[in-house]
């Protein structure tokens, strides 16, 4: 009970940020997995449902990322400023990994929301841009494993492996495929 009391007290924002980071990692991994599956032949009949789920997971990722960063600002010990958690290279705390997380976060947010501007961007250009989501996701995974406070915990490693490995395998398969001429899809 004392742990719970502490969690609800001085550690509330710290725990909230970490939990949101975990949720973002899982949701983004699931979104990337679905996105890669959508391009394959296995899911032809389920494409509309997959698209909806993929979009919802992307929005859930963005929400979790915002909570991850903003909750950290509320933490009383590290007490970073908004600039620390939003601008690369500003925060001195584990600068490389923090910056990697910030870059990954912004990339995922911008690339995710670019879906709603694809009319202006142009479908072909948007599709090319959308491929960078996988890179942003990979940066986020590295940030979580390298800097994450829970990275040493078995529950974290098992959970992350369960969602990251399938996505990574699909990404490797996709990248190893010879590029075909652009289709109508």
């Amino acid at each position: 009970m004392s742990t719970l009391a502490l969690a609800l007290g001085e550690h509330f924002f710290w725990i909230t940020s970490r939990a949101a980071g975990v949720a973002a990692l899982l949701a983004s991994s699931a979104a990337v997995t679905l996105g890669l599956l959508m391009g394959g032949r296995l899911t032809k009949g389920r494409l509309p449902d997959l698209k909806v789920t993929h979009e919802a997971l992307s929005l859930a990722t963005i929400a979790a990322l915002l909570i991850h960063a903003l909750a950290l600002v509320g933490d009383g010990y590290l007490s970073p400023t908004l600039a620390d958690v939003a601008i690369p290279f500003v925060w001195e705390y584990q600068r490389v990994w923090s910056t990697m997380g910030i870059v990954a976060g912004w990339s995922l947010i911008i690339l995710g929301l670019s879906y709603y501007a694809r009319g202006r961007i142009g479908p072909a250009r948007w599709r090319r841009l959308h491929r960078f989501t996988a890179l942003a996701w990979a940066l986020g995974v590295v940030h979580g494993i390298a800097e994450g406070t829970d990275a040493g915990a078995a529950w974290f490693l098992v959970t992350v492996a369960a969602v990251v490995l399938p996505a990574a395998a699909l990404l490797v398969v996709r990248l190893s495929q010879p590029r075909t001429a652009p289709s109508a899809a």
Partner: protein
């Protein structure tokens, strides 16, 4: 007596409504799954008691001098936190 031809507009409306229901259902499931993941992670982190550098929340070692001398082993075990702030959240 011939049966009346099905109303195409009504059929289309029905299909559209069914599609909307399915989409809303999928979105609700994703939101519920995301919230459940967040809540579960929050609970696991809170109850595990690990607040970063120190192994438990009950370990009390605050103060800059203490952090300079006690962080070596802790940093080795957690391997994820900056030694400069290894007393964070203690």
């Amino acid at each position: 007596m011939p049966t009346p031809a099905p109303d195409r507009a009504a059929l289309a409306r029905e299909r559209l409504a069914a599609k909307r229901r399915r989409v809303a259902n999928l979105r609700r499931r994703v939101v519920a799954a995301a919230l459940a993941t967040f809540a579960l992670a929050w609970g696991v982190i809170a109850f595990s008691g690990s607040m970063g550098a120190d192994t438990t929340t009950t370990t009390a070692s605050t103060g800059t001098t203490a952090s300079a001398t006690t962080t070596t082993d802790e940093a080795a075990t957690t391997a994820t936190d900056d030694p400069a702030v290894t007393t964070a959240q203690s």
